[in-house]
């Protein structure tokens, strides 16, 4: 290791408070984008899932095309289209909403599949039993299917949330003021790229690892319940 090594850590610890003050502020936007996109994905995903389970073929077709396209193209490309592409056509969307819409629409395709799998996993016999007891289909949904389905869907949905947290880093390319965006600015300012990206890495780990632990806990709880 060259003589730069001891200097590296000295500089690192000296600058750390400054880096953290900038980046922790940006973390707020990161979480905002993540929650916003999550909300979009959960709602839009439900609509797509219901379309896919619909009886009319054209409705199912729309859902299928949506899912195929969203899952067959990179999220980054979708973000570019929404931010740069629409702006080219005269529709200007600011960075944070663009990121939320882009990541949300992308996520809706994955979430729709999670919903579908959860609902289909509930044995048909349960629906039949509920109906023969005299429940209306809606009541059967409310009291029998959804409670069980939600328990099944929670772990994959939480996994999706964790990956969504990481995907917010893509929002930096559309100038959303989240962690990566500020990190790159700090690097141009200080040229201390390794220091800063190390801090960034640790920041993301501090956010994502607790979430992953939560998911693992939910998985275990679910299996115990079964």
């Amino acid at each position: 290791m060259p003589a730069a090594a001891p200097n590296f850590w000295v500089v690192f610890w000296a600058k750390l408070p400054y880096f953290l003050s900038v980046l922790l502020g940006a973390a707020g936007t990161t979480i905002k984008v993540m929650l916003g996109a999550l909300a979009v994905a959960l709602t839009l995903g439900l609509i797509v899932a219901l379309l896919k389970l619909a009886r009319l073929v054209p409705l199912r077709w729309i859902a299928n095309v949506y899912i195929e396209v969203m899952r067959g193209t990179p999220a980054l490309t979708q973000l570019f289209i929404i931010y740069f592409g629409l702006s080219d056509l005269g529709i200007d969307i600011p960075p944070v909403p663009a990121a939320i819409i882009g990541l949300g629409m992308n996520g809706a395709a994955y979430v729709a599949e999670i919903y579908r799998a959860g609902i289909l996993a509930i044995h048909e016999g349960q629906v039949e039993a509920a109906l023969s007891l005299g429940m209306t289909p809606i009541n059967a949904m409310r009291f029998i299917i959804l409670p069980q389905a939600i328990r099944l869907m929670l772990p994959p949905l939480c996994n999706y949330a964790v990956s969504l947290l990481k995907d917010t880093s893509l929002a930096s390319v559309v100038a959303a003021p989240e962690i990566m965006f500020f990190a790159r600015q700090l690097v141009t300012e200080t040229l201390l790229s390794m220091d800063i990206y190390l801090v960034v890495a640790v920041l993301y780990l501090c956010m994502s690892i607790p979430m992953s632990r939560l998911v693992a806990y939910l998985e275990r709880a679910r299996r115990a319940w079964q």
Partner: protein, 225 residues
């Protein structure tokens, strides 16, 4: 709408060949990263199921760290971080950084996939092999891994599709692939919408066959059980 499509008619001849060449870059990047990820993944999985507490711990930490960060951060750490330290042999090109970054993270993903494949096998298989006098390594080689390989094919195919899409992120560190080319042409021609939609179509064409294959593998596995 008509004017929109008209632009394509005008520029098709100049844009498409360039983008297709960039697609080759994308596919190459994906293939190299995949191989690196597969090798690392196998090593990680074997470490995870090994008897050594130390190896297990290393594998667990590796997976947690690599999966806990966005791919973008890993790419930046390698390209800008390591590159900025002033050490010659750490100055990777954007392409090398891309392969390394995606490969390292992929190794964590595939490591978990391979591990669950190995663990999904009934422990009776290992016991039968050991009782016949096979050393654990022999048992792994001839009994466990061949069976695990079949089980993990669908998730591996799904990983490959995700990898293809993740190559787009490498445009941000200026690695030569499709998204970067699209961005460049978009800036020089002032037609971002057209080019990004074209890029999206090309990604879709590349990923669709993989999707079909993945689905077929899943169906075949479900049927065989």
């Amino acid at each position: 709408m008509i004017e929109f499509l008209d632009v394509y008619r005008q520029h098709f001849g100049e844009w498409v060949p360039e983008l297709l060449v960039a697609c080759i870059g994308t596919l190459q990047l994906m293939a190299l990263s995949f191989m690196l990820a597969a090798i690392i993944g196998l090593a990680i999985a074997l470490m995870r199921v090994s008897r050594s507490r130390l190896l297990q711990a290393i594998a667990v930490v590796y997976v947690e760290v690599m999966r806990g960060m966005p791919a973008l951060v890993i790419l930046f750490l390698i390209y800008f971080g390591l590159g900025g330290l002033g050490i010659e042999w750490l100055k990777f090109t954007s392409y090398q950084a891309a392969v390394l970054g995606l490969g390292l993270q992929g190794g964590a993903v595939l490591g978990e996939v391979f591990r669950s494949g190995i663990e999904a096998l009934h422990s009776g298989q290992m016991e039968a092999a050991l009782s016949l006098g096979m050393a654990p390594a022999t048992a792994m080689r001839w009994i466990i891994l061949p069976q695990a390989g079949r089980i993990v094919l669908p998730p591996v195919a799904n990983y490959a599709i995700g990898l293809l899409k993740d190559t787009a992120i490498c445009a941000i560190i200026a690695a030569p692939e499709l998204m970067l080319r699209a961005k460049d042409i978009a800036s020089s021609s002032f037609r971002p919408m057209h080019l990004f939609v074209l890029a999206a179509i090309l990604y879709f064409i590349m990923s669709y066959p993989l999707s079909i294959m993945a689905r077929r593998l899943e169906a075949r596995l479900a049927r065989d059980r």
